[in-house]
């Protein structure tokens, strides 16, 4: 130990202030623990500062602009102008409002926030470095929530014009041409938003389909919509290199062995994210990573070292903010001695594309492997009064149930407000609701959720607003 080095005693240390870490810190404080939260950058993590929140603000602005320009309802004409800098200022103000809110909540719960980079020096001790000093903390419990960062391709190193989602969210002006490597949800969301602002967007996807984890019936609708926004999608494409020059970047890629190139103002590389677990000194704590760089944990989020927990993007499962928060609560409760466990039936997932995509539980194929027989129902937005009167008749709701019991096991929604519609379906799955339960629940008219009731009836064979084939 260096002379003069002090070690302070803390009951609970949380490393990382994202939706996993700050939620864990608040819950631990609510349960009476004395909590310290260490964050190297900004409270709110990726989600609030450079992920979910800013991207959704830009997507809303792009949608507003596009609706203004192209008109939503016939007969209403607008003269629309775009001051993108102001849009960015507004987006930043949204982020500030949300992160300040989190600051206030942490303060109100008496969570002590410490700025700096944390790493382990032992199974019960972390060191926190700032530019000027280092300080050690000895803890009883620790929750690691350090999140993830964008994966860099060796062939396309990040530079002035080869960017991550963080820089693309913060562009000062709308690029004329934007090339995107990666047709996952971040690529699609940002690509479509910039296309609505007027950029010429090209998306390169390595597999045969964009959003490859989703059913073809879903990706077809998104593909069609991308085409309408003049987004060029190239599938089966291998990005090979990017050459930056003073005012553009030239991206070379291969399809079926043939070489192609596209020039753009910027290239966004969004092929996935890697866990921030490599610089944490986990060896010193006695924690071993799995082959994917993730931290193995048990059903409470406990690592192989019993007083250290890990949550969020650094453990197995989908990298989503709401999953991180759920795990954060469980880990904090477990540390406080409660018998909580990660025990969900489903996690909803949303793509804020146009139209929106939201899925929860099993899809039809997956359900078929678990249950002997599966019953499905499908209902089109076009047959719903509210959808049509919103001028949003594009999309569908699909329910998947175990035929024997009628219990809902999965759902998919594509269309306006899918992100909100999915909540009822997640609750239905957790509550073991059957198709009948959903069909017999009165849904207000005229609303989009009426489609849930109608889809359940369709699955049961008696839809009112749809003719049986």
């Amino acid at each position: 130990m260096v002379v003069g080095e002090l070690t302070e005693e803390v009951q609970m240390v949380v490393i990382g202030g994202g939706p996993g870490g700050y939620v864990a810190a608040i819950r631990a404080a609510q349960l009476g623990l004395q909590v310290m939260l260490i964050e190297i950058e900004d409270i709110g993590g990726v989600c609030l500062n450079r992920g979910c929140i800013p991207s959704k603000a830009l997507i809303t602005a792009a949608e507003d602009y596009a609706k203004g320009k192209n008109g939503n309802v016939p007969g209403i004409d607008h003269v629309v102008t775009l001051d993108f800098r102001k849009v960015q200022e507004w987006k930043d103000s949204v982020v500030t409002k949300m992160t300040q809110g989190v600051d206030m909540l942490l303060k109100g719960n008496k969570v002590r926030v410490v700025k700096g980079e944390a790493f382990f020096v032992g199974p019960q001790e972390v060191r926190v470095m700032t530019d000027t000093e280092a300080h050690n903390y000895h803890f009883t419990h620790c929750i690691i929530a350090t999140g993830s960062r964008p994966v860099e391709l060796a062939s396309l190193p990040f530079g002035k014009r080869v960017l991550t989602s963080t820089e693309v969210l913060a562009l000062g002006e709308v690029p004329k041409r934007l090339a995107i490597v990666g047709g996952g949800y971040i690529g699609i969301e940002l690509g479509q938003a910039y296309a609505k602002f007027g950029a010429k967007v090209t998306i390169l996807e390595g597999t045969p389909s964009i959003l490859p984890a989703f059913d073809p019936s879903i990706t077809r609708l998104i593909g069609r919509s991308l085409k309408e926004w003049q987004v060029e999608v190239v599938t089966g494409a291998l990005a090979k290199s990017a050459v930056e020059s003073a005012d553009e970047v030239r991206l070379t890629y291969e399809v079926n062995g043939e070489e192609h190139a596209v020039s753009a103002d910027y290239v966004l590389v969004t092929i996935g994210r890697r866990p921030n677990t490599d610089e944490l000194g986990l060896d010193a704590a006695g924690i071993t990573l799995d082959g994917k760089g993730l931290i193995p944990v048990d059903h409470q989020g406990r690592t192989s070292v019993a007083n250290i927990f890990a949550i969020g993007d650094i453990v197995a499962g989908p990298a989503l903010a709401h999953k991180a928060s759920y795990e954060g609560k469980v880990a904090a409760e477990a540390a406080a001695g409660m018998h909580s466990a990660v025990d969900y039936a489903c996690i909803p997932a949303v793509v804020f594309a146009d139209p929106e995509v939201a899925v929860v539980g099993l899809n039809e194929d997956e359900a078929g492997k678990v249950y002997e027989k599966v019953k499905t129902g499908r209902f089109a937005y076009g047959a719903n009064g509210r959808a049509v009167s919103m001028n949003a008749a594009n999309g569908f709701v699909k329910l998947i149930a175990d035929e024997e019991s009628g219990v809902l096991v999965g759902a998919q929604v594509v269309g306006a407000e899918a992100s909100n519609l999915i909540a009822e379906l997640a609750l239905a799955i957790e509550m073991n609701a059957t198709l009948e339960d959903m069909a017999l629940t009165i849904h207000a008219h005229p609303t989009l959720p009426e489609m849930v009731m109608e889809t359940a009836e369709a699955a049961l064979g008696t839809p009112i607003h749809m003719l049986k084939k």
């Binding site: 996935g272 866990p275 059903h299 989908p318």
Partner: protein
């Protein structure tokens, strides 16, 4: 590669130890998960203990013929499946490893790229439909139970999969969890309910066989069910402690004998209970924390200003607790009449719900069944319950003389969250003082 120590697993409900009959593996052997390690014998059966992990056997902690207890180190392995078992408990979802930019697959790819340094790489794999989609086929059907019931089971240390669901399609209800708990308590009173974060033991391979023909199945009545729930709730929410003591009630016995004729003239059945109610109220008045309710949510204790005394009453259908509302305003005669009336109603099933509600403290009398001392379970959320045992005649040394005496057994249970032992004993002393000297009852009214 880490060393994993496997603790001797539970072989079945209530079985805490077993004799190592035979080792199937030896130190240095390589075993796969689920391969048998040893044959273990207990008084019911011989079972095989399966390996929880794949790896090399480093050490066997027992020799053949030795007896191992649950939790003791049994076998250690060199393995890289350090938390594999624990991991299995994390529910796999279809989203896992799927399109949500999981950190998983892409990273591998990127690492591979960095290592090889080649400049060919697939663009945009935000997912890996071609790769490792979770093994859905192997995912068992999830048992039906809503989140709050799952939590209830966890909090009571029960694996939800083990609960028998009585709801539609085998759905597990709150009541099923309570029923499971009650069964567990009966079969297995000593097992601690605490959740084990160590590797869960694999189930022993050989299932124990019980002779079910010897059992009679009695469905639970609704009263039995609510007794069950109330008891479980009380026992698991309020840590309670019982003080036991005896009091010389010789004077009270003769006083009551005197009063018997007066009572008969009034057509009242005079038992000892009205006196005990009076004595209890005297103590509750002096120690108000015993006539109280803990409001955990708001972090406060409510001291009750009225004294509604519950009288635990044994009926053919099970235990009922009719309440003497405002017992502090009743004369001894009124108490005696009320007790007789309420217990008759309870026994004939004519008692109304409101006559069994609102008690602030209770009395449980086991004396009439010749019981002596016992730790009564609180009538939750009350803080105190007085258990009354039989009065026995005995010889007592008093002021240097041996005298005949009647001794009454008292057991006072209290919620230790609200009241500490010293106060409870002081309250019990007060009850004793009043019962020992019935004249004091005149002063207490």
């Amino acid at each position: 590669m880490g060393v994993f120590q496997f603790a001797f697993p539970e072989l079945g409900e209530g079985i805490h130890e077993g004799k190592v009959a035979k080792w199937i593996v030896h130190e240095g052997d390589y075993v796969r998960e689920d391969e048998p390690l040893a044959e273990v014998e207990n008084d019911k059966a011989v079972v095989e203990i399966p390996s929880p992990v794949e790896g090399k056997v480093v050490q066997l902690f027992f020799s053949e013929g030795a007896v191992a207890s649950v939790g003791e180190p049994f076998v250690s392995f060199e393995t890289d499946a350090v938390t594999s078992d624990a991991n299995e408990e994390v529910p796999k979802t279809p989203l896992e490893d799927a399109g949500f930019a999981t950190t998983v697959h892409e990273v591998k790819q990127a690492e591979a790229i960095e290592v090889s340094g080649t400049r060919t790489s697939p663009a945009g794999h935000t997912n890996q439909s071609a790769v490792a989609t979770p093994d859905i086929a192997a995912t068992p059907e999830r048992v039906l139970a809503i989140p709050s019931v799952r939590r209830l089971a966890r909090e009571n240390g029960i694996a939800i999969e083990e609960v028998k669901g009585t709801g539609e399609h085998g759905k597990i209800t709150r009541e099923d969890v309570f029923a499971h708990l009650a069964n567990q308590d009966r079969d297995n009173p000593a097992i601690s309910k605490s959740e084990n974060v160590e590797l869960p033991a694999k189930e022993a391979v050989t299932k124990l066989v019980f002779d079910t023909a010897q059992e009679e199945i009695v469905p639970l009545s609704s009263i039995r069910r609510s007794i069950m729930q109330a008891m479980v709730k009380s026992k698991f929410s309020a840590p309670h402690v019982t003080m036991m003591d005896e009091v010389d009630v010789t004077e009270l016995v003769s006083f009551r004998n005197e009063m018997k004729q007066v009572a008969a003239a009034r057509d009242v059945k005079l038992t000892f209970l009205p006196f005990i109610v009076k004595a209890l109220i005297a103590a509750l008045k002096k120690y108000p924390y015993l006539n109280a309710e803990l409001d955990e949510e708001n972090g406060q204790i409510k001291l009750k200003k009225e004294y509604h005394i519950g009288i635990a009453t044994d009926t053919d259908r099970g235990l009922l607790v009719p309440v003497l509302h405002h017992a502090n305003h009743m004369s001894m005669w009124e108490l005696a009449e009320q007790i007789t009336a309420l217990s008759a109603k309870a026994r004939t099933g004519k008692i109304k719900l409101e006559e069994m509600r609102g008690s602030t403290a209770s009395i449980s009398n086991i004396g009439s069944a010749k019981g002596l001392f016992f730790p009564p379970i609180l009538n939750y959320p009350e803080v105190a319950i007085l258990g009354v045992g039989r009065i026995r005649e005995t010889l007592l040394r008093k002021d240097g003389e041996i005298v005949d005496a009647h001794m009454m057994a008292l057991s006072l249970s209290f919620d230790h969250r609200v009241v500490d032992g010293a106060m409870a004993q002081l309250a019990l002393n007060e009850i004793k003082a009043v019962l020992a000297e019935p004249k004091r009852m005149l002063m207490e009214v």
